[in-house]
């Protein structure tokens, strides 16, 4: 299969050159300018807006997958207590107002007069039921959240106000609510888990019409929606997993919007006169983890800085990422709580790196193994190779150990790696949670440091994290998290951030489509405007 995907990333001309098909080249070479005849779009034919995405929806059970590709689809049909707008800001949805009462308790005022697609009224019982369902291993990939809930209770009747109590303090609880969808208690209990995973009933702006697996998901506007009705009335989502086919469908005018232009076909998409290309930094940062046990060279802060400074990130972005990435000085992205504008990258400086290594007593360098996936992130294997070459210039001899994600992601929670490449973004937009999974000292009982694959430990940073958890006031807590972030990145060099990936979108020109890419990369049809 490797071959298949290599070929699909090539540009049309490069592809023909490599395969050396003389006859094919003649046939296609003469036709590089698309024929001008009418390319009727499905959207024009029946006013249906068609979006092509790279990953198919897996299930219509809103807790059945925590992959963003699935949450994105669900966000059209279901709603959480809260939602996020196109800039990533948290906004009211099924709850109109919310506060953190104390460390464990969150209070929500529920929206009145909301109905599910089947006509049932939305009540506080549905909220209670939904959080219970999230805790069931057979139907939920949100176990961590579901099982952290202690109780959901009603406080007052009009407006209906509820308290959600968690078992331990979860400062980012509200930040996660845009993807914890509320289901209808009555119809979910009445149907089997299999049926529920086929036909979703939510409160969202779109109601479910049909799902043909592997082919399309059709939605139509929910005229009983509590908010302003979306401009797109009929929507279709087409999963086109094969990158070159996805782009071909865009070029042929079959789709109105397309997500994920393959890096190597990017120029071809830009040259297409019928397509507008839009990009924005993705939420996902790529970074390197590094062991700091006392018998390991990188326990010395000078060695950590030397490695950081010996990596030429601008070169990686230009040569490996084809400029489809932006440098990262930290793991969180701007909408994430704890992101700090004041953090800067250590600049690339080979002389300084050599000097630091000399000071630390490693003037002859040392051997290290860099582990990473080769099928998970954009150009992941190539990034690792570039880093190995760059570090060899300061006599650090890097042995590469790249492998398929299915194997790599099983190795991570064993905490045995020395130096590894990983990508991360936090679904709850909270650096506190990111820290607890990536940098915090490993504590299996409490689920801390799950992806801290090099067993990194900085007890004084853990202390700051602990303090931040006890702060109820969101502004104060954000300050504390920014301090934690700055110390981890600049003082301790807990990890070496590399870059943020880039989300790429292609939009059909001339159809009046007004589209702003969201930070989470979701396709929410209600966010898309159509100029008449």
């Amino acid at each position: 299969m490797g071959k298949l995907f290599d070929a699909s990333h090539l540009t049309r001309r490069g592809f023909l050159k490599r395969t050396g098909l003389a006859t094919g080249a003649l046939a296609v070479g003469g036709l590089t300018t698309p024929f001008p005849h009418a390319k009727k779009t499905l959207a024009q034919q029946n006013e249906r807006f068609i979006a092509a995405v790279s990953a198919p929806p897996r299930t219509m059970n809103p807790y059945g997958s925590d992959a963003d590709s699935n949450l994105s689809v669900m966000s059209n049909i279901f709603e959480g207590l809260l939602q996020r707008d196109v800039s990533g800001e948290l906004k009211p949805a099924l709850a109109t107002d919310w506060t953190r009462v104390d460390e464990l308790t969150w209070r929500f005022k529920l929206r009145k007069g909301v109905k599910f697609h089947n006509g049932n009224d939305f009540t506080w019982e549905d909220v209670k039921f939904s959080f219970k369902r999230m805790a069931q291993p057979k139907v939920s990939e949100f176990l961590s959240t579901g099982q952290s809930i202690d109780s959901v209770t009603k406080v007052s009747d009009d407006p209906v106000t509820i308290d959600i109590k968690t078992k331990s303090p979860i400062p980012w609880f509200d930040q996660n609510l845009h993807q914890l969808y509320i289901m209808d208690k009555e119809s979910t209990e009445a149907r089997s888990a299999g049926e529920v995973a086929q036909e979703p009933i939510g409160t969202g702006p779109y109601r479910f019409v049909e799902w043909v697996k592997g082919s399309n998901l059709d939605l139509e506007v929910n005229n009983g929606y509590w908010g302003e009705l979306p401009e797109i009335k009929q929507a279709r989502l087409r999963p086109l997993t094969e990158p070159s086919t996805r782009l071909a469908a865009m070029e042929a005018g079959e789709v109105d919007l397309m997500k994920d232009i393959p890096v190597r076909l990017f120029e071809r998409a830009e040259e297409d006169p019928n397509t507008k290309v839009v990009t924005r930094p993705s939420r996902r940062a790529i970074f390197l983890g590094l062991r700091n046990a006392s018998d390991f060279p990188a326990s010395d802060l000078r060695v950590r800085e030397a490695i950081y400074r010996a990596i030429n990130e601008p070169e990686i972005i230009a040569a490996v990422m084809n400029n489809h990435a932006s440098p990262a000085a930290q793991i969180p992205d701007p909408p994430t709580i704890g992101f700090s504008e004041d953090i800067e990258r250590f600049s690339f400086n080979l002389d300084k790196a050599r000097q630091l290594l000399k000071d630390a007593g490693f003037s002859d360098g040392f051997d290290i193994t860099l582990t990473g996936p080769n099928d998970r992130y954009v150009q992941d294997e190539q990034i690792a190779q570039a880093i190995a070459t760059q570090l060899s210039k300061v006599d650090i001899n890097v042995e590469l150990d790249v492998k398929p994600k299915a194997i790599y992601f099983e190795e991570l929670p064993k905490h045995k790696l020395d130096f590894y490449l990983l990508g991360w973004f936090d679904g709850a937009f909270d650096f506190g949670r990111t820290y607890s999974k990536l940098i915090h000292t490993v504590d299996k009982e409490q689920g801390l440091g799950t992806f801290n694959a090099a067993d990194y430990s900085a007890p004084d940073l853990d202390q700051i994290w602990e303090e931040a958890n006890q702060i109820v006031d969101p502004k104060e807590r954000e300050k504390k998290l920014q301090e934690l972030n700055r110390k981890a990145m600049e003082e301790k060099i807990s990890v070496i951030p590399l870059h943020y990936q880039q989300d790429t979108w292609a939009i059909k020109k001339g159809a009046g489509i007004e589209f702003t890419p969201r930070p989470d990369g979701w396709v929410r049809f209600i966010d898309i405007g159509i100029k008449q």
């Binding site: 698309p34 005849h37 961590s144 995973a197 082919s215 086109l240 992601f409």
Partner: protein, 322 residues
């Protein structure tokens, strides 16, 4: 005949058992499904809960026998990814795969035989040489290359056919949606069917030509020419009929493989068939789907082989299975 049948069927069952066991073992190494299914932020304990809920905490041989026991009742387990019945998921996708494979086979058979006959009548003519070198290309160009070329030429540049997908299908009967009943469905079918047919077409073409060249030398054909029969009658009635026997056998044997092996074509044209489902399942380490699919493919191939063997005996009295 009866002893033969009993022996062949018991052999087939043994093969199926072996395949299920090997499949079960190999896919153990695809990674732990509980890691993904408990969610990104789950603790070790929550993963253990998922393993328990799926029965993955049992020793492997217990898991295997549970699987066998359920499979005998028609229950091949739930897909880890879709949380739905694995067999049903595959059966839902099967009509798309079968329609694609059958169409490809019809195209391959028709053009294979016609071109093969043309190439055999006058082997030294330019047309014949062109056809024969073309068939070499058909055997040697990988499917993904032809597929992508076809999309670029006929869908993107010429705009004659849609790039991908199945289009508007019409329900033939419950559980079977068909491409054949709407114009949109037919246009969606053409490019992938031609792509998938390429290899088979080349094989059938060479088989027909080879047989024809040989048979045209036979005495009874010379007699036919000498009697002054029409070319049409000699070629189609006397020669081709005899050539078609091995060709049809080949078609039967290849059909099962076409259905099982159309993964690449389905992936390029995003054809929502069983092959595409298998590919996704591989990436997601969805073991129930993988094992079920492989068992089903093996089942098809075994059945077709058995039927071909029986047909032989019925059609040709010289063959006896005793």
């Amino acid at each position: 005949m009866l002893t033969f049948l009993v022996r062949r069927i018991s052999q087939a069952i043994a093969v199926l058992l072996l395949i299920s066991f090997i499949g079960f073992l190999i896919f153990q190494f695809l990674g732990d499904p509980a890691v993904a299914m408990a969610g990104r932020y789950a603790s070790q304990e929550q993963r253990a809960q998922v393993r328990e809920a799926l029965g993955l905490d049992e020793p492997i041989y217990v898991q295997y026998f549970t699987f066998l026991k359920n499979a005998l009742h028609g229950d091949f387990g739930q897909s880890y990814v879709y949380h739905a019945d694995a067999l049903q998921l595959i059966l839902d996708r099967l009509p798309a795969s079968i329609e694609l494979a059958v169409t490809a086979m019809v195209i391959a058979l028709f053009f294979g035989v016609v071109l093969g006959v043309i190439a055999s009548l006058n082997p030294r003519a330019v047309v014949s040489r062109f056809i024969m070198s073309g068939s070499l290309l058909g055997v040697s160009i990988p499917t993904f290359v032809t597929g992508i070329l076809f999309i670029l030429i006929f869908a993107v540049n010429l705009g004659i056919f849609p790039t991908s997908g199945r289009g508007n299908v019409v329900t033939l009967f419950p559980g079977w949606q068909s491409n054949f009943l709407s114009w949109d469905g037919i246009t969606h079918l053409i490019l992938p069917a031609i792509t998938l047919s390429f290899f088979q077409l080349a094989v059938l073409l060479r088989l027909t030509r080879g047989g024809m060249v040989e048979i045209l030398q036979e005495d009874y054909i010379r007699t036919a020419w000498a009697k002054g029969l029409l070319t049409r009658v000699v070629v189609f009635k006397h020669a081709l009929r005899n050539v078609l026997i091995p060709v049809i056998t080949m078609v039967g044997l290849q059909l099962g493989e076409l259905i099982a092996h159309s993964i690449v074509t389905e992936s390029i044209f995003q054809w929502p068939g069983a092959g595409q489902l298998l590919l996704t399942a591989l990436y997601e380490a969805d073991r129930p789907i993988l094992v079920t699919y492989i068992m089903m493919a093996a089942f098809f191939i075994l059945v077709i082989n058995l039927v071909v063997d029986i047909m032989y005996a019925l059609l040709n009295p010289k063959i006896r299975y005793e």
